[in-house]
């Protein structure tokens, strides 16, 4: 893709003004870092990091029964989703593979608000429209930016602007007056930290961005640290840690399969997915602690104790918080138990690794109740 055809978010000028290093990502010119990945990563874990994620796809699904309609595409219980809540799910292929992962919630009584990955958004939205035909309409919210503020001080920063945001629980959402606009706000994110995602009209985005950065607890954080933060949080990155061949069972996302939907077996690929839930999966995503040597990155082979290649690393790198190398990848279920010793092959060298629990770094979401 040439520079002339690259898209920009409403915050492009703000990134350049901050001295960001801009790189192509999913068709957009995006900030990969401002002062440096490590400093930005640590700032987010200790204070509050502000991310521009306006490249992601936002849409509203409306119709006679938009929640029921949406269930044709995903394995989650959306009919049971109350106003003010959102839920993570995956867009399924007929074979039960993952076409994308997404968030869908009800910030208001007007249909379902959906956020999908930037690289997949055109295909996702085309699929939703073609599958649902006349029963629902999808409005792409191209005129909205999306900000994420993440970290232990995010709540203190946001309640200055809207005190009611203190009471919003993890995966709850609503419409709030912020920065002179009606914003969709959810208590969620993709760093493992407490925080918020804020959908704001594009023409208000830069003023909101600057108002948030005016708080000394807040720094702008690029996609580089976003990636290392989500890796530590054990969160898969679609297109790397999952793709259309991967089922949600293989990807260790079984929490996205709602009880009612499993009982009804009424989602795409249900035959495969239910068989895999019963133990038929040939591979599963695990966390790996790399015990020696260089970082094991995407594409590195995983071998068993006898040196036989059994899988591949799908993301990996240094964990700034832990000070050691971590990775995720796919292995046969027989080698997925915690503590299983494996090897990762980096530039031809075999390095010891061990299956460990994810998240690698404890998530610090603000959960109001244990059953939420």
């Amino acid at each position: 893709m040439t520079e002339a055809t690259m898209k920009r978010t409403p915050l492009y000028a703000a990134h350049v003004a901050l001295g960001a290093r801009m790189v192509p990502f999913a068709g957009y010119e995006m900030p990969v870092q401002y002062e440096g990945v490590l400093a930005e990563h640590r700032w987010t874990r200790e204070h509050a990091g502000l991310f521009d994620v306006s490249h992601m796809g936002q849409a509203k699904l409306r119709g006679a029964a938009p929640l029921a309609s949406f269930e044709k595409l995903v394995p989650g219980d959306y009919i049971g989703l109350k106003e003010g809540k959102q839920r993570y799910s995956v867009l399924l292929s007929p074979e039960g593979g993952m076409l994308d992962d997404l968030m869908a919630g009800r910030p208001d009584g007007d249909g379902l608000y959906v956020v999908v990955n930037a690289a997949c958004k055109d295909a996702d939205f085309a699929l939703i429209e073609s599958e649902l035909g006349a029963e629902a309409t999808l409005e792409r919210l191209e005129d909205r930016a999306l900000l994420a503020i993440q970290g232990p001080e995010a709540v203190d920063v946001m309640v200055k602007h809207e005190p009611k945001l203190a009471e919003l629980g993890f995966m709850e959402c609503g419409v709030f007056d912020l920065f002179g606009a009606k914003c969709f706000v959810s208590r969620s994110g993709y760093t493992g930290e407490d925080g918020y995602e804020i959908s704001i009209p594009a023409d208000k985005a830069e003023a909101a961005w600057n108002a948030l950065l005016a708080d000394a607890r807040v720094k702008a954080i690029g996609l580089g640290a976003r990636d290392s933060l989500r890796l530590e949080a054990g969160l898969p990155l679609y297109g790397h840690d999952a793709d259309e061949t991967t089922s949600p069972v293989e990807a260790a996302l079984t929490f996205a399969l709602s009880k009612r939907r499993k009982e009804a077996r009424d989602f795409k690929g249900a035959e495969r997915i239910m068989a895999e839930l019963g133990g038929a999966a040939s591979r599963v995503r695990v966390g790996l602690s790399v015990l020696e040597g260089a970082p094991a990155r995407e594409g590195a082979e995983i071998a068993d104790a006898d040196g036989k290649v059994v899988g591949k690393v799908t993301s990996g790198g240094p964990s700034p918080t832990l000070g050691r190398n971590i990775a995720m990848g796919y292995v046969p279920p027989s080698l997925s138990a915690l503590g299983t010793r494996l090897n990762v092959i980096v530039r031809g060298k075999s390095q010891a690794a061990e299956v460990v629990a994810t998240p690698f770094v404890a998530q610090r979401y603000f959960r109001k109740t244990a059953t939420a």
Partner: protein, 121 residues
């Protein structure tokens, strides 16, 4: 000190060249988190990948600016890879190489030529 278009620097003392990556390269990489340097005795042709430097995001090869034999890799970098960012053209050196032909070093860019090259990027 001499420089390559791949952003390595070379400093010669007698027939031994100390080799590292330039400040420009270190800044472009960002935070260096891992460095793999060669063992003594390794024979290098010009352009061989002889070391690896890794940032949080990616691994990059470092290429031999001249042919020769490795005398010493900078073992201190394995414990303190951040030295590459802090002092890229000093204590962040990667290897000392006994140069096969010292004239090869003279053929590389001097500081003024390298600065002009950076300005053209």
């Amino acid at each position: 000190m001499r420089f390559t278009k791949d952003h390595e620097w070379v400093s010669v003392d007698g027939d031994v060249a100390t080799v590292g990556i330039t400040k420009y390269a270190a800044d472009a990489l960002g935070d260096v988190v891992f460095v793999e340097v060669p063992d003594a005795g390794k024979a290098l042709s010009k352009g061989d990948s002889f070391a690896v430097v890794e940032s949080v995001k990616a691994a990059s090869d470092v290429y031999a600016p001249v042919a020769g034999e490795v005398v010493e890799g900078n073992a201190a970098l394995s414990a303190a890879p951040e030295t590459v960012n802090a002092d890229p053209e000093g204590s962040g050196w990667f290897a000392k190489i006994r140069v096969a032909n010292v004239a090869d070093v003279d053929a590389l860019m001097d500081r003024a030529a390298y600065d002009a090259y950076l300005a053209s990027l």
